[in-house]
């Protein structure tokens, strides 16, 4: 019971931090970094907390948690790839882009 409320509080704090990251970071990739990690753990622990407070909902909340753990990184990966292919150059202090050569090679083949 109290564990559940603790998880709900922890989850909402991480959800807020995730959107703060979305707001503050300088480019798409860094926004995805902050957004994905913080919101994944935030949503997982909040929904699991709801499951702990109401134990007969536990099975279905566990299913939502597993689904989020699998699906959220996948969608952020797809978005990162799409952003790179839409020619958004990443923000960098020092040039360090190993993907660039591969990307241009692939483009020539098309």
């Amino acid at each position: 019971m109290y564990i559940g409320y603790g998880l709900v509080l922890l989850g909402s704090i991480f959800l807020f931090l995730g959107s703060l990251g979305i707001y503050r970071m300088p480019d798409v990739y860094n926004r995805l970094q902050a957004g994905t990690k913080a919101t994944t753990l935030g949503a997982m622990s909040l929904i699991l907390g709801v499951g702990f407070i109401e134990p007969e909902w536990l099975i279905k909340t566990l299913f939502i948690v597993i689904f989020i753990a699998i699906a959220n990184p996948l969608s952020s990966h797809a978005l990162a790839r799409a952003a790179y292919r839409a020619n958004l150059t990443p923000f960098m202090k020092k040039k360090m882009d190993a993907y660039k050569s591969e990307f241009h090679q692939e483009k020539k083949e098309d």
Partner: protein, 169 residues
């Protein structure tokens, strides 16, 4: 595409997985629900056997189960670490980031294992997988510590990959 190799172990695993999903969606123990679930999951697993061919029944061997639980434990610890890392970066006023994209090769051969590794990399501290071409991962790293592929591989993926190699031979 490799040809869909139909084996009875894979089919039984698929059926069991589909039935567990059915049970989670209905979450009731009434006998008619369970019977309908057995039939529906049989039909669905027959239809999707060509797509879901990640693992077979030998996933339930005790040593593999041990490594699966170990993987889940390592993963949850990494998830908490990465969230504290994100919180530290987001809340500090100067935004301490030094982003870049690094590459490394993986030793995994199983497609499903590669997907699990890519997901784990996305959720571990400071890294985000961008693309996977054959065996080569391209990783966006929020605080680049090394450009060398070997060193990056050791820092990012080593402990996940060791466990995955034991699960998916």
């Amino acid at each position: 595409m490799q040809s869909p190799s139909f084996s009875i172990g894979k089919f039984l695993y698929n059926w069991l997985l589909m039935f567990v999903v059915w049970f989670g969606f209905t979450s009731s123990l009434a006998p008619e629900e369970l019977l309908t679930g057995v039939l529906v999951s049989f039909i669905v697993s027959l239809m999707t056997i060509g797509i879901f061919r990640c693992c077979s029944l030998d996933i339930f061997l005790p040593q593999k189960l041990f490594y699966i639980f170990k993987y889940i434990f390592v993963f949850i610890v990494a998830l908490f670490k990465s969230n504290l890392d994100v919180a530290r970066r987001v809340l500090s006023p100067s935004l301490p980031i030094n982003p870049g994209i690094v590459e490394f090769d993986t030793k995994l051969t199983n497609e499903f294992a590669k997907m699990v590794l890519a997901n784990s990399i996305t959720l571990t501290p400071g890294t985000l997988s961008i693309d996977l071409v054959d065996n080569r991962f391209y990783i966006h790293w929020i605080d680049v510590q090394s450009e060398d592929p070997e060193e990056a591989h050791r820092l990012i993926a080593k402990n996940f990959e060791d466990i995955l190699l034991k699960i998916f031979k």
